[in-house]
Amino acid sequence: MAGNKLAIMFGVAAALFWFIGANAPQAFLAHFTVFVLGCFIGYMVVWNVKPALHTPLMSVTNAISSIIAIGALVQIAPPIAGAAGRPDDWIRALAALGIVLTAINMFGGFAVTQRMLAMFRK
């Protein structure tokens, strides 16, 4: 990459980091650290995937994206349920539907990937 573009990119990143560091609470920074490292790991790991395996890659990353199930699972019956003003039934209904949808993707996604990879058997 040309030197100028690289310098500009680093400059923008530094400005963003400064903004975050000046305003964000400590807990957010811990999550932000994990996020940044995750981005690099994801980028580097996926670069190594052979072109022939790109479609199974699309399928398995889709299956892994059903990790959103965790978000729905913690809303179904948290310890704070029943607190005043908390619309428990609405939240439970939304979360239950969320779990059904992600379960379809979880089980279906890995099964689809398995079928795709089975085609590669020599």
Partner: protein
Amino acid sequence: MSASLATVSYIGATILFILSLGGLSNQETSRRGNLYGMIGMAIAVIATVFGPEVTGAGYAWIIGAMLIGGSIGLYAARTVQMTQMPELVALMHSMVGLAAMLVGFATFIDPEASRAYTGAAKSIHEMEIYIGILIGAVTFSGSVIAFGKLSGRISGNPMLLPGRHWMNLTGLLLVIYFGRAFLNAHDISDAMLPIIIMTVIALLFGIHMVMAIGGADMPVVVSMLNSY
């Protein structure tokens, strides 16, 4: 299970997910990679269900929902033709987008979820809800259109509306405007209108964005929506 045990389980699941993607670097290790992904997901779900955030009252709901979803997913994966795989992946991914929207809304209407936050932390929490629903909505509607194009239900020709760039830009500016309104709202009922308007805009944007792309590029689009 304590919160710390749940956390180390999540770290273990993360390691397995990374190894899962790494396994796809060549064909010999790819089947094992898929297995690592399954084990990682199982660990994450079990750690959550037996962790501090889920009480006994939820077990019936969770088991029921997972049974229904799991059987639909497995049935679809087993019976679909190999040539229909990309559209099945697009359809399943639209469900992830919809689930992300539902989770976002459930967090939004829960006053207990944001009670402990003040100041910058509260803004960050609210922004995460807003952006989460935004991205979930774009992913959902975009993936549905991708499914439509891949299955031939929608024409593969890109739908290039005149002024489409202005439409997209207007949508983005409106979303930012309502984002400010959302952050400044005093309570949940005040914030409801901005977030619903944003959701509608996001859904329309997802449709518009993918309709403007030709059918042959759909696998790339699905991968991109996947990353969202």
